[in-house]
C-alpha cells in the first residue's frame, strides 16, 4: 500500500507555532527587476475593474461580450455595435474565439448595452463581462489533518494508481500558481505616496518545478504566472501536491503536470495595477478574487488547446454566461473534463451559480458541492437540481479547525491587506481553507487519476464518478448531495464481470 509520507516535517512544528514556512530548498531568486513585461490592463481598464471590485459590482463596467450570428459581415457587425451609446474603444477590443469583447467608456452600464445589442438581428447573444468570485472561505489553523483524503479512500486508491502520470495535464483556472521564483519591483501605494517595492515570489516547495508548466496570465501581465492571492495555490495542492516526500501534505494526482492559468485577480493584483497607472489609494480589502467571464472563457479555451485533460474552476456567480458555456462545450468536445464548484452562498440566499449550473447539460463537466468531516453537507455548500457530486470541502462547524482542508499554500500573513503594505509571496505554510472551491479539486484530482488509468473520455469520467459515488443523504440523487460523495478507490477499481 502506498502510504503518503506527509506531515512528518510539518505537523509538529505546526502544532507549536501554527505558522510554518515549508521548503527544504531555498528558492533561487532572480535579481529584482522592474518588470520587463506588459501589463494585461490599460489604465482605463484598471479603473473599471477596481470600480467593480470596490463597489462589489457583478460585472466590469463598460464591457460587453457579443457573439454575432454566422455569416454576419464586418460592416453589419459595426452597424449592430453602433447601437451602443458612444464609441467603442477599438484599442481595447479583442476577439475571444468568435466572441467580441467590446469596451466603451461612454456606456458604463453593460446590462443596458447588452440588452440593446440582444435586440439587434445580427447578434446571437450579448452579455456583460460578469465577474465571478472565488469560492473560498479562509480560516486560521490550530492543526492540520487530511481527513478529506481518507474520506474518499485515497490511500487505497493510490495502491491502484499512484498519483497519475506526467502525461496528464491539469489546468487550474484561478488566481494563478507562481511558476518562477523571482523578485519584481512594483510601484505600490504606501499610504502617502508611491514607492517602488521589491516583491519576492517563490514557487511552492511541495510541487516539483518540473511538473509546473509555464501557464498563462490573462488578467495581470504577460510575464510569468504569479499568485498574489493564495487561492489557486491551495487548490493546486489538493490536486498535485507531492506525496511520499516527507514534506508538507499530499495531493491526489501527484504525478500529473500543472498548467496554471491566471484568470482571476486578487487584492494585490489590483493594488499593483492601480499603482502602476498612478492611481492612489487602496482597493477594497474585504473583496475576494474577481474573475471576468472574458478571462475565464479565454483560459478554458487555452487549456483545451494546450494539452490540458482536466480543468478545475472554483469560481462562480449568479448570472448566466453564454461565453463561458460555449468555452466549456469547446473544452469538453476536445476531450477535457471540467470540475466546477457549486458555490458557497447557501446561507446567503442559495442563488444558483454559474458556470456550475451548466454542468447537467454538459456530459464531461461536473458541479461539485462540499461536505465536512462527518460526511454532512457543509453549511455553506449550495444545493439544487444542478448539483451532481460532493467532495470534502471542509466545514469549520463540523470538527472545528480540524475539519477544514489543509494544503501547502502561500503564507497569508505575508500579504494580509489589512496589515501589510509591502507584501511578499515567497513563503508557504500549511494553509486552511474551506469552501466548494476546495471540494472541486478533489473531483479534478480523481478525474486526473481516471484519465491516467484509461478512462479518457470526459463523459465517461463523469459517468464513472457518479456510478461509484457513495450515496449519502436521501436515497438516490438529491439536491443536497447530488449523486453522492466521490469514492476514488471504487471508481478507479471499476467493474469485474460479477462485481
Amino acid at each position: 500500500m502506498t502510504t503518503p509520507g506527509y506531515h512528518v516535517w510539518f505537523r509538529g512544528a505546526a502544532l507549536l507555532a501554527a505558522v510554518v514556512i515549508v521548503g527544504t530548498e531555498k528558492p533561487t531568486h532572480a535579481q529584482a527587476s522592474t518588470a520587463p513585461y506588459t501589463f494585461a490592463m490599460t489604465r482605463s481598464m484598471v479603473e473599471r475593474v477596481t470600480a467593480a471590485w470596490n463597489d462589489e459590482l457583478p460585472y466590469v463596467p463598460g464591457e460587453v461580450l457579443v457573439k454575432f450570428r454566422n455569416g454576419t459581415s464586418a460592416a453589419t457587425q459595426d452597424r449592430a455595435m453602433s447601437i451602443i451609446r458612444g464609441p467603442i474603444d477599438a484599442a481595447e477590443t479583442k476577439w475571444i474565439g468568435n466572441v467580441l469583447l467590446a469596451r466603451t467608456t461612454s456606456e458604463p452600464d453593460p446590462e443596458a448595452a447588452a440588452a440593446a445589442l440582444r435586440r439587434q438581428p445580427e447578434v446571437e447573444w450579448a452579455q456583460p463581462n460578469y465577474v465571478r468570485r472565488l469560492h473560498a472561505t479562509p480560516n486560521d489553523p490550530s492543526f492540520a489533518r487530511q481527513w478529506n483524503f481518507q474520506m474518499i479512500e485515497m490511500s487505497r486508491a493510490w495502491d491502484i494508481n499512484p498519483g497519475a502520470n506526467a502525461n496528464v495535464v491539469v489546468a487550474i483556472i484561478d488566481s494563478g500558481i507562481t511558476t518562477q521564483s523571482a523578485s519584481y519591483t512594483f510601484p505600490l501605494w504606501t499610504g502617502n505616496n508611491f514607492e517602488n517595492v521589491i516583491v519576492p515570489f517563490g514557487v511552492t516547495p511541495d510541487i516539483a518545478s518540473s511538473r509546473i508548466l509555464p501557464g498563462r496570465d490573462f488578467v495581470f501581465w504577460n510575464g510569468p504566472v504569479l499568485d498574489m492571492d493564495g487561492h489557486g495555490t491551495h487548490l493546486a495542492g489538493t490536486v498535485l501536491e507531492e506525496t511520499n516526500n516527507n514534506l508538507g501534505l499530499s495531493g491526489i494526482a501527484y504525478g500529473a503536470r500543472l498548467l496554471p492559468l491566471k484568470a482571476c485577480y486578487g487584492y494585490w493584483d489590483l493594488q499593483v495595477l492601480q499603482s502602476v497607472f498612478g492611481i492612489p489609494g487602496y482597493v477594497n480589502p474585504n473583496e475576494t478574487g474577481g474573475c471576468p467571464d472574458s478571462a475565464v472563457a479565454e483560459a478554458i479555451r487555452y487549456a483545451a488547446d494546450n494539452g490540458a485533460r482536466v480543468i478545475n474552476l472554483s469560481l462562480g456567480g449568479p448570472f448566466t454566461s453564454a461565453i463561458t458555456l460555449e468555452a466549456l462545450n469547446y473544452a469538453v468536445s476536445r476531450g477535457v473534463f471540467v470540475a466546477m464548484s457549486v458555490g458557497n452562498n447557501y446561507e446567503r440566499g442559495n442563488a444558483t451559480q454559474y458556470p456550475a449550473a451548466y454542468a447537467p447539460q454538459i456530459n464531461g463537466a461536473v458541479s461539485v458541492g462540499a461536505v465536512g468531516a462527518s460526511e454532512r453537507r457543509a453549511y455553506y455548500s449550495q444545493t439544487g437540481e444542478h448539483l451532481e457530486l460532493v467532495a470534502p470541502g471542509g466545514d469549520v462547524r463540523d470538527g472545528g479547525f480540524a475539519g477544514v482542508i489543509y494544503q501547502v499554500g502561500l503564507f497569508d500573513p505575508d500579504f494580509d491587506p489589512f496589515t501589510v503594505i509591502r507584501p511578499r509571496f515567497d513563503r508557504y505554510y500549511e494553509e486552511p481553507l474551506q469552501g466548494t472551491s476546495s471540494a472541486a479539486p478533489h473531483v479534478a484530482g480523481l478525474a486526473t487519476l481516471l484519465y491516467s488509468q484509461g478512462i479518457t473520455n470526459p463523459a465517461a469520467i463523469e459517468a464513472a464518478m457518479k456510478r461509484f459515488a457513495k450515496d449519502i443523504g436521501t436515497a438516490g440523487k438529491d439536491n443536497e448531495y447530488g449523486n453522492g460523495l466521490i469514492d476514488a478507490r471504487a471508481t478507479l477499481r471499476g467493474l469485474g464481470v460479477a462485481r
Binding site: R156, A459, A460, G496, V497, A498, R499
Partner: protein
C-alpha cells in the same frame, strides 16, 4: 435446485458409476470413464468480451457414465474453465480497460441422464443439471470484494463416439449449460443485462470403459 438435493443425485450417480452392473448388455461399455478437452463459448458474451476481449475459453475435465437400463445411462462430469482479463468501466457501450488484472474460474459439476444408441459408433444425448462454482479474483480487492458463488441450472449434452480399440472410444460432445447465478446484479454483467454463467462447451472426448 437446492444443494442437498443435488448431493443426493450426485451420490446416486456416483454409486451407479462405480458399482458393478449387469444391465445394458446391448453396449460394449456399460461403465465408462472419460476425459474431455475443448472450448467453451460463454453465454455472457458481452461481459466477458469487455473484460477479456473474448467469450471463449478452454475447458478440461472428466467424468463417468454408466448404463443403468437398456440404453439409458447416467453421466457425472466435472470441468474447469478459466479466463483472464482486466477490470473495466463501461459507458455508452464503450469499454475502458483499467489495467487491473482479473481472473475468473468456473467449475461446472454436471449430472445428467440420457440415452445412447448401440453399436461401435454410438450417439448419445442427455438432460440434467449443472452446478457451476464461480470465482472471480482481481488485484487490489479486499477480502469481501472477490466473488465466490455458484449457481445451478439446466444441462443438455449430446455427442457421438466410436470404439477404436477394445475398451477405448473417441468422439466429440457438446454441453449446453443455462445457469443463472452470480452475474447480473453488479459488475459489467449488470451493465449488459447478462445473468448466465453457462455457455456451450464443445469437447473432444476419450473414453475408457468395460
Amino acid at each position: 435446485m437446492r444443494p442437498s438435493r443435488l448431493f443426493v443425485i450426485t451420490a446416486y450417480a456416483m454409486a451407479v458409476v462405480t458399482l458393478p452392473t449387469t444391465a445394458g448388455a446391448q453396449n460394449s461399455m456399460d461403465v465408462r470413464g472419460y476425459f474431455v478437452a475443448g472450448s467453451t463459448w460463454l453465454t455472457a458474451a458481452d461481459s466477458f468480451e469487455a473484460v477479456a476481449d473474448t467469450n471463449r475459453t478452454s475447458n478440461i475435465g472428466g467424468g463417468g457414465a454408466v448404463t443403468i437400463w437398456k440404453s439409458v445411462f447416467v453421466d457425472v462430469a466435472v470441468q474447469r474453465m478459466a479466463i483472464e482479463g482486466q477490470r473495466v468501466f463501461v459507458d455508452q457501450g464503450t469499454v475502458y480497460p483499467l489495467n487491473i488484472p482479473l481472473q475468473v474460474t468456473m467449475i461446472p459439476f454436471d449430472v445428467a441422464a440420457g440415452w445412447r444408441t448401440p453399436g461401435r459408433v454410438s450417439a448419445y444425448g442427455a438432460v440434467g443439471v449443472s452446478r457451476i462454482s464461480y470465482t472471480e479474483r482481481s488485484d487490489f480487492a479486499a477480502d469481501d470484494e472477490d466473488v465466490d458463488d455458484s449457481g445451478t441450472g439446466l444441462l443438455l449434452l449430446g455427442g457421438a463416439d466410436v470404439t477404436i480399440w477394445k475398451f477405448v472410444s473417441i468422439g466429440g460432445e457438446v454441453r449446453y449449460r443455462h445457469v443463472d447465478g452470480p452475474l447480473g446484479e453488479t459488475g459489467v454483467s449488470a451493465v449488459f443485462g447478462e445473468r448466465s454463467i453457462g455457455g456451450v462447451a464443445a469437447s473432444l472426448r476419450v473414453s475408457v470403459g468395460f
